[in-house]
């Protein structure tokens, strides 16, 4: 109950802050559509050369891009602005005020500087996914499992984000880290089965971007084994746990080393 109140208050303050600068809802929609276009162009160029690649048709790969756009929307709305705010807090020493609030600091920094308007990207991404879903004739079961896997993937993304934020306590100037997440995610705009060997291994197990975009798309095609789907969710939970540990450890370091 009181947690809900806190979250609502944080979202409210975020929304009010973004509205100070850019109240342009339509500008954001235009940008989101343009980005979706730019994101899909390379896909069409590739599939112009080869009608199917590693068992993926254009429409199926389009689903991957759709989930990629959704993930990017989450990145823009939640991950990136909050990350930059935390870095700023640490640099200016105002992070102390965060720690003095009687609310979980990880929750606080995850939400305190959200840009809700950027969620428009997620809507556009969902549109792309819907188009692809129609093209591959996805049924309700496929849609449901794809949605579940998407949330597992987003959990994972948030965990990666938490690990990066944790490192903000160790480096001097880490604004660039948000670009690192972005670059990592960028590999996820292609079905992970297009990669080979070591790269594929990394993208599936170490930095499981494949889980964020490819697995939901596979589920949409009805080609994801239930065991793989469950495994993906377990991995997501595992990552969340690891991220939590990284966060608490770096807080401990922050409060023993800062001045």
């Amino acid at each position: 109950m009181s947690l809900g109140v806190s979250i609502a208050a944080l979202m409210r303050a975020s929304l009010l802050t973004t509205m100070r600068y850019r109240a342009s809802f339509f500008g954001e929609v235009a940008m989101a559509v343009a980005w979706a276009f730019w994101t899909t162009v390379p896909l069409f160029v590739v599939f112009d050369q080869a009608p199917t690649l590693a068992g993926w048709t254009t429409e199926e790969a389009l689903a991957v891009v759709g989930f990629f756009i959704i993930a990017q929307g989450v990145l823009e709305a939640l991950v990136d602005p909050n990350l930059r705010a935390v870095v700023e807090h640490v640099r200016q020493g105002t992070f102390d005020f965060v720690l003095l609030k009687p609310i979980d600091a990880q929750l606080y920094v995850s939400l305190h500087r959200t840009e809700p308007l950027k969620l428009v990207h997620c809507v556009v991404g969902a549109g792309v996914v819907a188009y692809a879903a129609k093209a591959v004739d996805a049924g309700p079961v496929e849609l449901l499992s794809a949605t579940l896997l998407m949330f597992a993937g987003l959990t994972l993304l948030h965990s990666l984000w938490t690990v990066v934020v944790s490192s903000a306590f160790f480096f001097v100037k880490v604004d660039n880290l948000s670009w690192l997440i972005r670059a990592g995610l960028d590999a996820g705009r292609w079905p992970v089965s297009l990669y080979r060997g070591f790269v594929r291994f990394v993208l599936t197990f170490v930095l499981p971007i494949g889980l964020v975009t490819t697995y939901p798309a596979l589920a949409l095609r009805g080609e994801l084994k239930p065991s793989t789907g469950l495994g993906a969710m377990v991995i997501a939970v595992l990552f969340a746990g690891v991220a939590r540990i990284a966060w608490t450890q770096s807080l401990r370091r922050y409060s023993s080393a800062s001045s």
Binding site: M31, V41, D48, A50, A183, A187, W190, R196
Partner: protein, 262 residues
Amino acid sequence: MFRAFPTLLRIGFAEAVAYRAELVIWVLTATAPLISMFIWDRVAEEGPLGGWGQGEMARYFLLTLIVRHLTSAWVVWELNENIRTGGLSPMLLRPMHPLVFFVAQNLSAMPLRAVILAPLIVGVLWWRPELVWTPEPWTLLLGLVSAVFAWAIAFAAQVIFGSLAFFSQQSLGLFNVYFGLWSLGSGYLFPLELAPDWLRQLLLWLPFRATLATPVELLAGLVAWEDALGLVAAQVVWAVVFVGLAAMTWNLGVRRHEAVGA
């Protein structure tokens, strides 16, 4: 004012060393050409593409990675930050043009960037030894000249968008739009050779190719002599246009800055 240049370079280098962890991150973030390389490698397996085999394709993206890093600029962020926070005002009081300072800062970070990038390149070459090639002397020379122009255009473009911060809080958003167009039109994500016809026709009239694809294709030996000179000539024209525009937006911006006193 150029007497101070060596000192600036030295300080810039020391600064780059101090921020080495961040520099590593920066280098790692711009590895999209590697991703493109993996994908196109896969596509090229299905058969040659527009006369390019697997080898040419992989080499193209390896060179894209290298050229992208050694011609990169980040002055748009520096300008935006300094204009927004007022850090530019003291710079304007120095007896040295702020842009000279930023040029020095940009150039002096290059050696360390190259050092950080080297293991990646070596790793790729170790994985695909057939990618090693010996370019002809004239393509190498022309390619390097072309890379310098590519950097100049990229830097000037960033000065233009950075100077827009004098006028608008949305300047970085505008730069992102430019970057989006650039990534499609410069050969960064796919070789322009393989773009649909209408796009290729369009790109002939746009500046993006001059900032990346031209030096990359020259260095990879994918361009014939007579085409090469035309491409470099186009770069020179674009460099003149962009530097002119950059000088104009900068001067207008500074005048406004002085009037408003931000």
